[in-house]
C-alpha cells in the first residue's frame, strides 16, 4: 500500500457515462494484482470529503502505468471526469485482497462497470495461458465499453444486453445459465456487478454448484482496514458469521460465504 501521486497519462470516453484513466505510477502499477483497488482523493478541499475506491482495470508494470475504468454516477466521479491529462491524482493503493486462482476454465461474469476488475483478471489469466470466457452484460449497447481493446485475443467474449441491442438478449446471468445447461462448464466463476446480478448468480449456483468468487462493493471511509466501515457478513469456516472488511479481507470473497446472497438465495 502506497500513498502516492499518480499522473494522468490519458483520459478517454469509452461508453455513455464511462471513461478510462491511464495513470502513471510505478509502485502501484508493479504491485497490484487483479481484484485490488485504489482509493482516490478527488478534491484538496472538503467537497467531496471522502476518497473514492476504484478497481485496477489494467496494469503495465514495465511502463509503470495502470488504468481505471470509471462510470460517472455522482459528484465524485463527475469531478474525476473533469481531470485533465498530465494532472496529478492522489492515490492510495493497491488495496484489498484480489481474486485467488481456481480451476480452469475460468468464466468471468461482468455486469456493467463491474467489468473493471475482471478485465485485469482476464489479462493476467491469459498471460498464464489459462482459458477464459468473459461474459459481459449491460442494459443496452450504449453502455458497452469496447472490451476488445482490453481483452487478449484468446479470451472469448460473450455479450448480453437486456434490450437485445447487442449479443444475447437478456441478462448476462441467463446467457451463462444457457451455456452451462448446454454443457459449457467452468471450473471457476469470478463475478463483479450489481447486487441483483450477484444475487441471481448465487441463486443459479444452487443448481450449478461451481466455485465462485464475487468482488463486492461497500461504502468506504479509510479503505485500509482501520475503520471497520465497509463491513460485510461472511460465514467463515467454523460456521461463525462475522463482519469482514470489503477493503481488506475483500473486495473478493468466495460467493458461498457471503451471507447476504446465501441467505436470500436459499430462502
Amino acid at each position: 500500500m502506497f500513498l502516492t501521486t499518480a499522473r494522468v497519462r490519458k483520459k478517454e470516453t469509452v461508453a455513455r457515462n464511462c471513461f478510462t484513466l491511464s495513470l502513471k505510477e510505478e509502485k502501484i502499477a508493479s504491485h497490484c494484482t487483479p481484484g485490488q483497488f485504489v482509493h482516490v482523493r478527488l478534491s484538496m478541499g472538503y467537497d467531496p470529503f471522502l476518497r473514492r475506491p476504484f478497481s485496477v482495470a489494467a496494469a503495465d508494470p514495465a511502463e509503470g502505468v495502470f488504468r481505471l475504468l470509471i462510470q460517472t454516477v455522482g459528484e465524485g466521479t463527475r469531478l474525476l471526469q473533469g481531470i485533465q491529462e498530465d494532472q496529478p491524482l492522489d492515490c492510495l493503493g493497491p488495496l484489498g485482497s484480489g481474486f485467488v486462482p481456481g480451476e480452469a476454465p475460468y468464466f468471468l461474469v461482468a455486469g456493467g462497470i463491474g467489468a473493471a476488475p475482471l478485465l485485469f483478471l482476464a489479462q493476467t489469466l491469459s498471460k498464464q495461458n489459462q482459458p477464459v470466457r468473459f461474459y459481459y452484460g449491460t442494459a443496452s449497447e450504449a453502455e458497452r465499453v469496447p472490451l476488445h481493446a482490453w481483452l487478449p485475443a484468446t479470451v472469448e467474449q460473450i455479450d448480453a444486453t437486456e434490450d437485445g441491442s447487442k449479443g444475447f438478449s437478456g441478462r448476462v446471468t441467463a446467457a451463462l445459465d444457457r451455456d452451462i445447461l448446454q454443457g459449457i462448464r467452468p471450473g471457476q466463476i469470478m463475478a463483479c456487478g450489481p447486487e441483483a446480478m450477484l444475487r441471481e448468480l448465487a441463486r443459479l449456483n444452487a443448481t450449478w454448484k461451481i466455485p465462485m468468487q464475487f468482488s463486492l462493493e461497500e461504502r468506504m471511509a479509510c479503505a485500509t482496514g482501520a475503520c471497520q466501515g465497509c463491513a460485510v457478513e461472511i460465514a467463515e469456516e467454523a460456521g461463525m458469521i462475522n463482519y469482514l472488511r470489503v477493503c481488506r479481507e475483500g473486495p473478493v470473497f468466495e460467493a458461498h460465504k457471503v451471507v447476504e446472497f446465501h441467505a436470500k438465495a436459499s430462502s
Binding site: R41, R51, C227, G229
Partner: protein, 305 residues
C-alpha cells in the same frame, strides 16, 4: 524534535498529535505509510471485554465536509487484544492508549483493572460517549451523576492516567467536565461524534444500518473548538481536543482554545499522512514564532480581550 514534547499531567507524549480512537485500528493498517513510533500516541479502537460483532451495514456515509459512522464498536475483545495486538504494538514501540467501553459500570471497571498494569499502555481513555451502541455508550456521558459514579469506580482501580472522553450530545459540556474532574479524571478528551442521520431518499429509509451515526470531520470543528474552549474554563484538567482536524491551522485552533494535545480522526481517512504532516508543520511553526514548546499555545485564546 525534543521540543514538541507535551505533558498532560503525568502523561508525557513526544509530540501532541494522536490518532483518534476508531480511526487508526490497532495501528497495523497505516504502518506502511508512516512511522507509527512518530505518533504522540495511538488511541486504539474502542475495546470491550468480549469481542463485539458491530452494527449492520452500511456503517459509513459521507456528509457535507464530514461523515457519519456507526461501526458499533466492532473489536476483538480484551483477551485477543492482549494476546495479539498489544505485543505487536509494544514490539514496535508505539505509544498506546486504550479506549475502553462497556454496557455496565462493571465492564469498565474490569477492563481498567485488567489493563492498567499491563506494560506498554500509557493511559486509558474511558469512552462514555459512543452514539452507536444501544447499551452503555452515550448514556454514561450524558448525565453528570452517572458519569461521576462511573469515573470514580474506574479511577479506584486504575493506576495509570485516566482520560475521560466527553460526549458533545449534551446541553452543558462544562457540567459534564466538572463531574468527571470531581470524580478523579486525570485528563479529558473531546469531542466524540455528534449524533446524526442521513436518509436515503430513494428507499425513503435511514441510510445507515443502525439508523443513526456519529458525525465527524471538518463540519463539526466549530462545535468542537467551542466545547474545548468551554471545558478549558470549566475545569483545570489537561485537554485532548479533536473534531475535524486536517491541518496545522485547525490544530492551532484547538490548542488556543485550551487543548494540550490534538487527535486526528476522520482526517486520517482523507489524508493518511495528516499526523506526520502536523508534526512537521508544528515544528516549523514553533521555530518561526520562536516558541519553545507547544504548551505555550494552550489556552492562548482566553487572554483578556
Amino acid at each position: 524534535m525534543q521540543k514538541l514534547q507535551v505533558e498532560l499531567g503525568s502523561l508525557v507524549l513526544k509530540n501532541p498529535f494522536m490518532a483518534a480512537s476508531g480511526t487508526f485500528g490497532f495501528g497495523e493498517e497505516y504502518a506502511n505509510i508512516m512511522d507509527l513510533q512518530a505518533l504522540g500516541a495511538l488511541v486504539v479502537k474502542g475495546l470491550t471485554l468480549k469481542p463485539q460483532k458491530g452494527n449492520k451495514p452500511p456503517r459509513v456515509v459521507e456528509t457535507p465536509a464530514g461523515m457519519l459512522n456507526a461501526i458499533g464498536l466492532q473489536n476483538p475483545g480484551l483477551d485477543s487484544f492482549l494476546a495479539r495486538e498489544l505485543p505487536r504494538l509494544n514490539q514496535q514501540e508505539i505509544p498506546v492508549i486504550v479506549n475502553i467501553n462497556g454496557a455496565e459500570e462493571s465492564d469498565f471497571v474490569t477492563l481498567a483493572r485488567e489493563l492498567q498494569d499491563v506494560p506498554g499502555i500509557l493511559a486509558l481513555e474511558l469512552n462514555v460517549s459512543c452514539p452507536n451502541v444501544k447499551e452503555g455508550g452515550m448514556a454514561f456521558g450524558t448525565s453528570p451523576a452517572v458519569l461521576s459514579s462511573l469515573v470514580e469506580k474506574v479511577k479506584r482501580v486504575c493506576g495509570i492516567p485516566l482520560i475521560v472522553k466527553l460526549s458533545p450530545n449534551v446541553t452543558d459540556i462544562g457540567e459534564m467536565a466538572r463531574a468527571a474532574e470531581r470524580s478523579g479524571a486525570d485528563i479529558l478528551s473531546l469531542i466524540n461524534t455528534i449524533k446524526g442521520m442521513v436518509i436515503d431518499t430513494h428507499t425513503a429509509r435511514p441510510l445507515l444500518g443502525n439508523l443513526t451515526g456519529g458525525l465527524s470531520g471538518p463540519a463539526i470543528r466549530p462545535v468542537a473548538v467551542r466545547m474545548v474552549y468551554e471545558v478549558f474554563q470549566a475545569t483545570g484538567l489537561p485537554l485532548i481536543g479533536m473534531g475535524g482536524v486536517m491541518s496545522l491551522q485547525d490544530a492551532l485552533e484547538f490548542f488556543m482554545a485550551g487543548a494540550s494535545a490534538v487527535a486526528v480522526g476522520a482526517g486520517n481517512f482523507v489524508a493518511p499522512d495528516t499526523i506526520p504532516r502536523l508534526i512537521a508543520d508544528l515544528q516549523s511553526y514553533l521555530e518561526r514564532k520562536g516558541m519553545n514548546s507547544p504548551a505555550v499555545l494552550t489556552g492562548l485564546a482566553h487572554g483578556s480581550r
